[in-house]
Amino acid sequence: MYANTDWYSEILNDHAMQTQHNLSVSGGAEKTRYFASAGYAYEGGLFDLAKFNRYNFRLNLESKVGKNFTFNIQSSGMASKARDMGSFNSDYVIQFAMESPRIYPNQFSNGLYNYIPQARGNMYLMARGDNGTRTTTNNVFIGNVSLQYDVPFIKGLSAKGLLAYDKQNTFGKRWLTPYAAFIRDAAGNYSPANTFPSKPELTETYTQYQTLVAEFSLAYQRSFGDHEISALALFNRTDDQGDNLSAGRTNFSSSALDQLDLGDRTQATNTGNATQRGRIGYVGRLGYNYKARYLMEFNFRYDGSNIFPPGHQYGFFPSLALGWRISDEPFFKRAAPFIPSLKIRGSYGLAGNDAVNPYQFLATYNLVQTTNGYSFGGTTPQYISGLQESVLPNPDFTWEKTRIGNIGIEATFWKNRLTLEADYFTKHTVDILIPPTQVVASTLGITLPPQNAAEVQNRGVEIQLGYSDRRKNISWRVRPNATFLRNKVLKYAQATSVPEWQRLAGRSVGFSAVTGYQADGLYQSEDEIKAGPTPLYPNVKPGDIRYVDLNGDNKITPADMSLISKGPYPNILMGADMGVEWKGIELNLLWQGAANVETHFRGTIAWPFAGDGVPAEQHLDRWTPENRDASFPRLWINNQNNSQNSTYWLRNTSYLRLKNLELAYSLPRSILQPAGISQVRFFVSGLNLLTFSSYKYTDPEASSSVAYPLMRYYNAGINVKF
């Protein structure tokens, strides 16, 4: 007699609550304007313990002082608190719910809870909070003060100084408490399991991060008849600093209070470290337009970053944008009166990226505390922290650069009822910062630094159409959009011994390409296996996956692997926003989809007994001599032939999804105006209500992993404006 536990519903609720409230006011007098808002949001999780609360405010104030000064202050703040279970994160709970054997009961008939080894305890009790909680409190303050001086004797010239200060504090508290779960042995006796932890323990982490920006700029903007000129020169200095601190104690005598002081003083740990970063930027802009018909703008940035070695810290990033509003030309107005607006635009420029770890040009040694130190002295050991080289210094690397080009049109037709926006763009990234892991042998013996080593090209077309119209009381709109993307690796360092079909360079695959075998169905008989090529492993049997011998040596070896998939990034993205309104009643729909996308699925969904998992329903259609046309190989545990990366596990994850549906009603203005109210709007909406996809196992949008599921949300609310 075995249990049949649906762990998914045992642990997870089928719905969660979320609420959101926002209030904003704006106004001002002749010299002073203000904007203020405050908000509150609450999100419940899929199990009761998980919660998220957020409060935020914003206050902007601008005031003219005297004749030539404008004083501006902007501040905003956010305080949030998230709560999760103590031992594991939410993703793990979902994985557990999917992989746990159903034959394990959650609760025995006598009321005791079962101990599940995979969960290192009982996941239901953990999700209920019996194992403690993890809370993260995050406080963010963003503020800036600026003063602008309009130079009186040169019209259009202004000088501005700005100081910005961002501060972020994160306080994390992980409080683990003991709880009881039981083992029932074959004889029916219950004994308490050694759940984790045996005594309460607490870890607190505190992180503070601050950014100080000082900026000085000169701006000039003035029209001379049909000519309009603008110019900007700006200097920016950014100073980032951060500190981390953590402390913990174990062996608390009680679970009642979660304060460090109450833990065992002899079981105390602490860690701490600090980081700093610096950046300097010089920015220039020059703009010119004639009758707003011919538009030209030149920009440049000259940025310095302490990520790079001295002499290589600065990068120059210019860009140029041109535009022509053809529809303003007299000849065009005559020739095509049904096109009230048409603009052609193009731009070309450089952008820089320095997102790698700092100090990789210096020979530095870092202290490694707990795992890489050593103890000498036998029975009275003296522990010494280890000291090791951080990274092989690279004295010669600099900014990664992207050349971005764009050509597009913006047009409207038939009294602006139809709009069209279309762009062709290229992004050619050179000097990509990447460590040469594929060509430098491990004989070097140290972590490799980034080099300016790779080159990738992305190209694409983006089209957005819109149609809106009105007949009597009914108005409607349809706005579809689509993006077509294509990328190509132009340069990537791989050794010359790597077979041509395994090289990234020259292929339309990204760096997340999957290398694997080309599958050729399943072996149907021993004779097929004997006929060759020799399979990868000696234990291959009928019902296992057959691979293609790419190099023709009549045996399957790693040399037969090729780049089988570009990874889970779609080539085509699409969406549509549509709506209809009738006497204050609105129906709005937002569709979203992706095509030309596939996933290489692995793990629990693909393999019947992954980990200590359980087969899923789809594995019923496995190969057997009676079911030769199966969609899965024969039932297997630890069959390396079948768990290789191969095209067998590629699935098309194209999808179309109704992302948002909203039904709303606004009270007529005639009722509201006397009360001084400008809008009252009631709405109900739903998120992720419908999905069309041939991929059924998990959410196609996040198909590559077993993680927190996509939630379906239902909202109801009211907006009031005064």
Partner: protein
């Protein structure tokens, strides 16, 4: 009023202008190269980090490959890499022992750095000599572990930079052996024979000579192996520890038998491992542990205490098959009815100690007992803090090296003498001259050094893969019948073996880094 605004303006201009040093700030949490090599305290920390990088068998607790691909053990995890090896389902792309490949060169680089820096560093002559010796010793140990697994290797004896050629081909076999032996000789000549108590645990000259004897035996250089082993024995610095059962307990760390150990320490800041956490029954640890399970094959290798095999001795009782065994058995295998941490362990499937199926269920009916700390307290040591030292080489192995080398040289009586010393310590009867065969010597090694990481290389040296690796692995099935508890042998699996398996395939990820002209050659028949 206007003044205040002006001061904000001037301040931001000022802040913006005095920023030339912003891009030249050094790291806050790292020492510079100049700091380190001028400071003997920091250099000492650097050396400590190389010791910490030694790969010991305890560090593999829970993922213990070497114990699960020989007839010593079977992994309880169905997806453990050992299952792939045991069924022949592995190749160059499966990264078998690739951490040893990368780890060896990380260690070698650190040793090479030390050798290049120490001559210029502000150290006393004694310290300079010792650190040089330590560098040679630690480098040799890393290369030995690499050579054992993969055979010949690219020899790196200097600090490489990106300007250097890093795709260095594998050296000739005799050059690799010569290189390791030269390092051990240098270490032996530079290192002190012993240390004061504060430096206990550092490599000694005897440790270098002991490793050399092991290495020479594996190379079938018996005369030299016997000579090196004899030098260690004859030094009389080491004595067999009296009690095999408590030999590996933390209170006996660095006892008289230990020649070189990887040191672990208790407490918050100590270097710890997780052997106890991973290898005790889930009942004690609270999660799916007890992963490396001894086989019936190993259990059967332990003779009865009269010196006879279980199927020949009158002492054997099928209803109580674990009574009257070689006392070392009780220090090696946790079997049904074992008294462990105040519990009588019930190994029948479905008991609270040995789960019916899945994680925490022994595939053989046994759990590991050797090396585990009987006082391991999961209540205190929740955080994987296991701290008993891990033997790298001890006197018992030197006796076995000496005995085997002497046997090979035809001096069988000398061989028997040293085997019998181990049996006497174990409280087993001596083997009579008439009964002493190479098989009894092999069996002595099996039971004495079980799970100490040598079995695979012993089998390779004996060239007995088909007899000792590609064999049927058995376990015990425990049932309760009306007549009492029964113990029945059952087949766990039949292992796969081909001679090419003596050497592991060079990881494909490394081979793929070498250019077409100067390849990193794969081991024979692994392509």
């Amino acid at each position: 009023m206007q003044k205040i605004f002006f001061s904000i303006l001037t301040f931001s201009v000022f802040a913006a202008s005095c920023s030339t040093d912003l891009l030249d700030r050094g790291p806050l949490d790292k020492y510079s190269e100049q700091n380190v090599w001028k400071d003997s305290t920091l250099i000492n920390l650097y050396v400590g980090n190389i010791y910490a990088g030694i790969r010991s068998t305890y560090d593999e607790g829970g993922d213990w490959l070497m114990a699960c691909i020989t007839d010593e053990g079977e992994s309880a995890r169905t997806f453990h890499l050992s299952q792939q090896i045991n069924s022949g389902q592995y190749g160059p792309s499966d990264n078998v022992y690739s951490p040893y490949w990368t780890g060896c060169y990380t260690q070698a680089r650190k040793c090479n750095t030390l050798l290049e820096r120490v001559p210029e560093a502000p150290l006393s002559d004694a310290l300079r000599t010792r650190m040089t010796g330590e560098a040679y010793f630690l480098r040799a140990l890393a290369y030995m572990q690499l050579y054992d697994r993969f055979g010949r290797f690219p020899i790196i004896d200097k600090v490489l930079s990106l300007e250097d050629e890093t795709t260095i081909p594998r050296a000739k076999d005799e050059d690799c052996v010569k290189f390791i032996l030269a390092d051990l000789d240098k270490a032996a000549s530079l290192l002190p024979p012993s240390y004061n108590s504060a430096n206990l645990g550092r490599a000694t000259s005897w440790a270098a000579i002991a490793l050399k004897s092991r290495f020479l035996l594996n190379q079938h250089r018996d005369t030299e192996a016997a000579a090196a082993a004899w030098a260690v024995i004859d030094s009389k610095k080491y004595i067999l520890f009296g009690d095999f059962l408590t030999l590996f307990n933390p209170e006996n760390d660095n006892n008289t038998e230990i020649i070189f150990d990887k040191q672990y320490a208790s407490g918050i800041s100590g270097q710890t491992h997780s052997l106890d956490t991973y290898e005790n029954s889930p009942f004690f640890t609270g999660f799916s542990s007890a992963i490396t399970c001894p086989t019936q094959n190993l259990v059967d290798a332990f003779k009865m205490k009269d010196g006879l095999a279980w199927d020949q001795s009158p002492l054997y009782n099928a209803a109580k098959p674990y009574d009257n065994r070689d006392p070392r058995f009780y220090a090696t295998v946790l079997y049904d009815g074992y008294q462990w941490m105040n519990e009588t362990v019930d190994m029948k499937k479905g008991s609270k100690f040995n789960r019916a199926s899945g994680s925490g269920s022994s595939p053989t009916g046994y759990f590991l007992r050797k090396f585990l700390n009987p006082k391991f307290d999961t209540k205190v040591n929740n955080n994987n803090a296991n701290f008993q030292n891990c033997p790298v080489i001890r006197l018992a192995e030197i006796y076995l090296v000496y005995a085997e080398a002497k046997w090979n040289l035809g001096e069988k009586e000398e061989a028997r003498t040293y085997v019998n010393k181990l049996r006497t310590r174990a409280k087993m009867p001596e083997i009579e001259a008439a009964d002493f065969t190479f098989t009894s010597l092999q069996n002595e090694r099996f039971v004495e050094l079980a799970f100490e990481g040598q079995r695979w290389f012993d089998i390779k040296r004996w060239n007995e893969g088909p007899q000792k690796i590609g064999v049927k692995i058995t376990g015990v099935d425990i049932q309760d019948k009306p007549e009492g508890r029964t113990y029945t042998r059952f087949d766990v699996e039949t292992r796969f073996f081909q001679p090419k398996m003596y050497l592991f395939p060079i990881p494909l990820s490394e081979i793929n880094k070498y250019p077409a002209g100067t390849p990193l050659e794969q081991n024979p028949n692994w392509n």
